[in-house]
């Protein structure tokens, strides 16, 4: 640590200030990705390959994370399989004692590489699903042949015995495929499915009119998920992210800012949440310059929205503030122009009515075309 304090000291100081150690870390290994999904939540400006952390840097960060109290490591991107050292990183993460989860589209994985990941001790795989047939999936992912390849990868995962979660991102164009996605999870012998109605961050913001579900679709999705949960109890776990813009209360974003998780971007910047770089008033520390525990407990970005002191009305005096922490800071920035404002999704926000009207207008714009994700130069 820069001032000579040990991680044990930092933990003790953190406890005294009421700051818990983080449970989970999202390691965005790269921004490179063969797909170009219009709902990509990565920033509009991506980190280039030359700026990516080296293998050695990542391995050091995994050990620092374990020492900081991280239990679950999510290897994500971009497409993490685009990193040539993926197997080595998985092995190192397991050696550091982390529960290691790979979040992938499947593109870039071969049968042999899957066997190597299995051998390296990979704990869990989350496979993304852009649609339930090649026509839909390849159109949404902007990658011809992607669906066929993904179905092969699902077979290899099943054969390996590595537990699988199917990640289905649903929106106005593919919500009618949700029942089939749940069936596919069963066919793949997945233990879980995450049904996420698209959230609008990063690149996705410009596709709100092409992807916003209608209110009726959002309600239908909630009904399908509730029925499947009851029918499939003990066979398939369903986790569900509802349609944000059509809700009356905001999401409990990150389970509270700087309280349970952190992200490391491809270039080593440490973020309190995936989209935090959209808040211009924040500045971020880098694992190349500063220890992870020091950043977690003392970094200015992590302390910016911890606790309740930063809140304005109506959040400050609201009884729900301990439940949802006023919603998503990045969404408050994007929609209210102030990262400390109430998330406009909230029924108590002065902007709520306007947002609902805009959501309805977005969802009725059937002429809108998909704007595919641009790649780093």
């Amino acid at each position: 640590m820069m001032d000579g304090s040990t991680v044990t000291d930092l933990h003790a100081e953190g406890r005294a200030r009421g700051i818990p150690a983080p449970i989970a870390m999202l390691a965005e290994l790269t921004h490179r990705c063969p797909l170009s999904c219009p709902y990509c939540s990565n920033p509009v400006e991506l980190a280039r390959k030359e700026r990516e952390l080296s293998t050695e840097d990542w391995i050091r960060v995994f050990h620092e994370a374990a020492e900081l109290g991280v239990l679950q490591l999510h290897l994500s991107g971009g497409e993490p399989a685009s990193r040539r050292d993926l197997v080595e990183l998985v092995k190192a993460a397991r050696e550091a004692g982390l529960y290691t989860n790979l979040i992938t589209s499947g593109i870039g994985l071969s049968e042999r590489r899957m066997a190597e990941l299995d051998e390296a001790g990979l704990d869990h795989i989350q496979l993304s699903l852009q649609g339930t047939d090649a026509e839909m999936a390849d159109n949404i992912g902007g990658y011809k042949g992607g669906f066929k390849r993904k179905m092969m990868v699902a077979e290899w995962i099943k054969a390996s015995g590595i537990p699988l979660t199917l990640n289905a991102v649903v929106h106005r164009r593919n919500l009618h495929q949700l029942p089939r996605a749940i069936e596919m999870a069963l066919e793949m012998e997945a233990r879980r499915i995450e049904v996420a109605i698209v959230q609008f961050h990063g690149w996705a913001m410009q596709n709100r009119d092409a992807l916003m579900p209608t209110k009726e679709q959002a309600q239908e999705a909630s009904r399908i998920v509730a029925e499947a949960r009851a029918a499939l109890k003990g066979r398939l776990v369903l986790d569900y992210v509802p349609a944000d813009y059509h809700s009356d209360y905001p999401k409990r974003c990150m389970g509270g800012w700087g309280s349970s998780g952190l992200n490391v971007a491809p270039d080593g910047e440490v973020l309190p949440c995936h989209a935090a770089q959209t808040i211009p008033s924040l500045s971020f520390d880098n694992v190349r310059d500063r220890g992870l525990a020091d950043i977690w407990y003392n970094g200015s970005a992590f302390n910016a929205y911890r606790g309740y002191e930063w809140m304005q009305e109506p959040c400050r005096s609201c009884e729900r503030k301990t439940k949802d922490f006023g919603g998503c800071r990045c969404q408050a920035m994007a929609l209210a122009g102030d990262p400390a404002a109430t998330d406009p999704v909230c029924i108590k926000s002065p902007l709520h009515g306007e947002l609902q009207k805009r959501a309805e207008a977005f969802s009725g714009n059937d002429a809108a075309e998909l704007i595919y994700r641009g790649q780093p130069a």
């Binding site: 150690a21 109290g69 679950q72 704990d123 869990h124 537990p163 879980r192 109890k233 003990g234």
Partner: protein, 90 residues
């Protein structure tokens, strides 16, 4: 749970000593379940070959507690985790 059932901790689920927080946790896909000493004791007995009956008899002897009560508590605990696809029965 019947006494012949053999509970199994499947691939992708493991017991982990969380030294930072001074407790045991069960790590599973997207879940980290903090264990009290009873939960830890039950899961520590699951080795993929011992039956539920053998496990509860062992716990009853070890903790000098009525086996019927142990079987009820451990059965509910294991079934709860099975409903969440965290434990399985061979």
């Amino acid at each position: 749970m019947s006494p012949e059932d053999i509970p199994v901790i499947p691939r992708g689920v493991r017991l982990h000593e969380d030294r930072v927080r001074g407790s045991w946790v069960l790590l599973a896909p997207e879940r980290a379940i903090r264990l009290d000493p009873i939960g830890h004791a039950i899961l520590s007995e699951i080795d993929g070959s011992r039956s539920f009956g053998a496990i509860t008899a062992g716990l009853a002897a070890k903790y000098n507690a009525p086996e019927e009560q142990i079987a009820k508590d451990a059965g509910e605990f294991i079934e709860g985790l099975m409903n969440r696809r965290i434990l399985e029965v061979a």
